[in-house]
């Protein structure tokens, strides 16, 4: 099996400071990988470099495209933009960064369909309605703007907007951050179902160890820009090898 994504020695510096250093891993189809670490550990920098939002200084991000594996860092800008509309998706922590707040819910979902060439209004609306249903947003809210939605609904709308074009790889930056726990649980269940049904691969950045335990198959732990430990999620959490991971795991408050 070919990895969907091969990351090789990815390094990003901010002047003399290290954003992330020498990160390498393979992600296979259907795998969900979590990246944890405290703020400033470089996990968001890494995600940004992987998703093409930032340009790393060194390394390769090789994606298995329809025409074979290609280093996305060496693609032209239009090629990369096409990739981010089709095979890739990016779920922001704050739904306001991933949605167009002045456009209706249906428009937010439909826009991504139009960006890949759909033009039939009736079919676009039908698909948008179907997706709102899948993320548990009532069909009669299709013409409302996201600004009239609760935080949890906005996040679900952002997920619908991202998944409607059937991506193969989803980047998520703290997807459940900022939501209250009951809404978080519902979103986790939704994401798990979608990952399973669509065979998605995902990379999820979070500082919430409970979230990665439930969502991620594999886990990478970052500290000061370096990956200090990686492995099967439950193994890293239950039998952490590195001192920092041990500290991280033992610092979680028990409910």
């Amino acid at each position: 099996m070919t990895p969907l994504l091969q990351v090789k020695s990815l390094t990003k510096r901010y002047g003399p400071r290290i954003g992330c250093a020498d990160v390498s891993f393979d992600l296979y189809p259907g795998e969900v990988m979590g990246i944890v670490g405290e703020s400033g550990s470089g996990k968001s920098t890494l995600l940004g470099c992987l998703a093409g939002h930032m340009s790393p200084d060194e390394g390769q991000v090789i994606f298995d495209t329809a025409t074979g594996p290609r280093d996305t860092l060496r693609m032209t800008e239009p090629e990369r933009r096409m990739l981010s509309r089709t095979d890739w998706a990016y779920v922001h922590q704050n739904p306001r960064d991933g949605l167009r707040m002045g456009v209706s819910a249906g428009g937010n979902v439909g826009e991504r369909l139009m960006a890949v060439g759909n033009r039939h209004y009736g079919r676009i609306r039908e698909t948008a309605t179907d997706w709102l249903g899948r993320v548990e947003i009532a069909a009669d809210r299709i013409d409302d703007r996201p600004s009239a939605f609760s935080g949890g609904m906005q996040q679900r709308l952002q997920i619908a907007r991202n998944l409607v074009t059937g991506p193969r790889l989803v980047f998520m930056d703290e997807p459940t951050g900022g939501l209250d726990v009951s809404v978080q649980a519902r979103l986790l269940d939704l994401l798990r179902g979608l990952v399973r049904e669509m065979g998605l691969s995902a990379i999820i950045v979070t500082h919430d160890l409970a979230v990665v335990r439930l969502l991620a198959d594999r886990l990478m732990v970052m500290k000061s820009g370096h990956v200090i430990e990686a492995g099967l999620t439950d193994q890293v959490l239950d039998d952490p090898q590195h001192g920092y991971t041990q500290l991280l795991v033992s610092s979680v408050l028990q409910v």
Partner: protein, 227 residues
């Protein structure tokens, strides 16, 4: 089906002065298809630790853990994930689920993950929940609010939803009443009957005597320092 050879393990507590605690040395066992092997030994002797290493939940220090044709001690995460999905089941003492997911779906999930059609998976889940006396009115609720015994039975139903060729059972009959204990023992006997290799921890001697073909005392694998 399950073979453990010369398995060693120690824990290093980096934040407590780098203390190294050796917990297992030279562990070895073999479980054939259709056989149930019981792990015995005093509390703290390492029964659950050994079981967790076989499941890949604890990292092996050295040695080999062969399940099917995979060496868990050296396998990549994705290989262990595939092994757990198809081959190796584990009923732990604790139920860990996404909050708000209905009990029926919690039990059906291992089958859904294998690509079994939703209807068939839920039918199988319903059958197991009925056998384990979980009232139907609870199926639509999340098991997080259930009593300890009910959660344990949901956990067992989930562990038996797919016919795994190899099964790890950590005190499956603990906190169960006589009728449910009987059901669980029957499930184990049925699994043996279809050729599953089972490794179990049973504090309940009656249960152990009934389903275990052989016993292995893990005290023999405890390093001298802590014994």
């Amino acid at each position: 089906m399950i073979t453990v050879e010369n398995l060693c393990k120690s824990f290093t507590l980096h934040n407590q002065g780098g203390t190294v605690i050796p917990v297992m040395e030279g562990a070895a066992l073999h479980v054939a298809p259709g056989e149930c092997l019981g792990l015995v030994g005093a509390s703290g002797a390492g029964k659950s630790t050994l079981m967790r290493m076989i499941y890949g939940n604890y990292l092996a220090g050295s040695g080999r853990i062969i399940v099917g044709d995979l060496d868990v001690a050296r396998a990549q995460p994705r290989e262990i994930i595939a092994l757990r999905r198809r081959t190796l089941g584990y009923v732990s003492q604790f139920l860990r689920v996404v909050p708000r997911v209905p009990t029926l779906d919690v039990v059906a999930e291992p089958l859904l993950a294998l690509g079994v059609d939703g209807g068939a998976a839920r039918e199988r889940a319903a059958g197991l929940l009925s056998r384990l006396n979980i009232p139907e009115r609870l199926w639509a609720l999340s098991p997080t609010t259930f009593s300890g015994g009910e959660q344990q039975r949901v956990n067992i139903a989930r562990g038996f939803a797919h016919d795994y060729p190899a099964l790890l059972l950590d005190e499956p009959t603990a906190s169960l009443d006589a009728a449910n204990r009987e059901t669980v023992l029957r499930l184990i006997e049925e699994a043996k009957g279809r050729g599953a290799a089972i490794l179990g921890i049973f504090h309940d001697e009656g249960a152990r005597g009934r389903v275990c073909d052989r016993l292995v005392d893990v005290t023999g694998f405890t390093p001298a320092r802590v014994a």
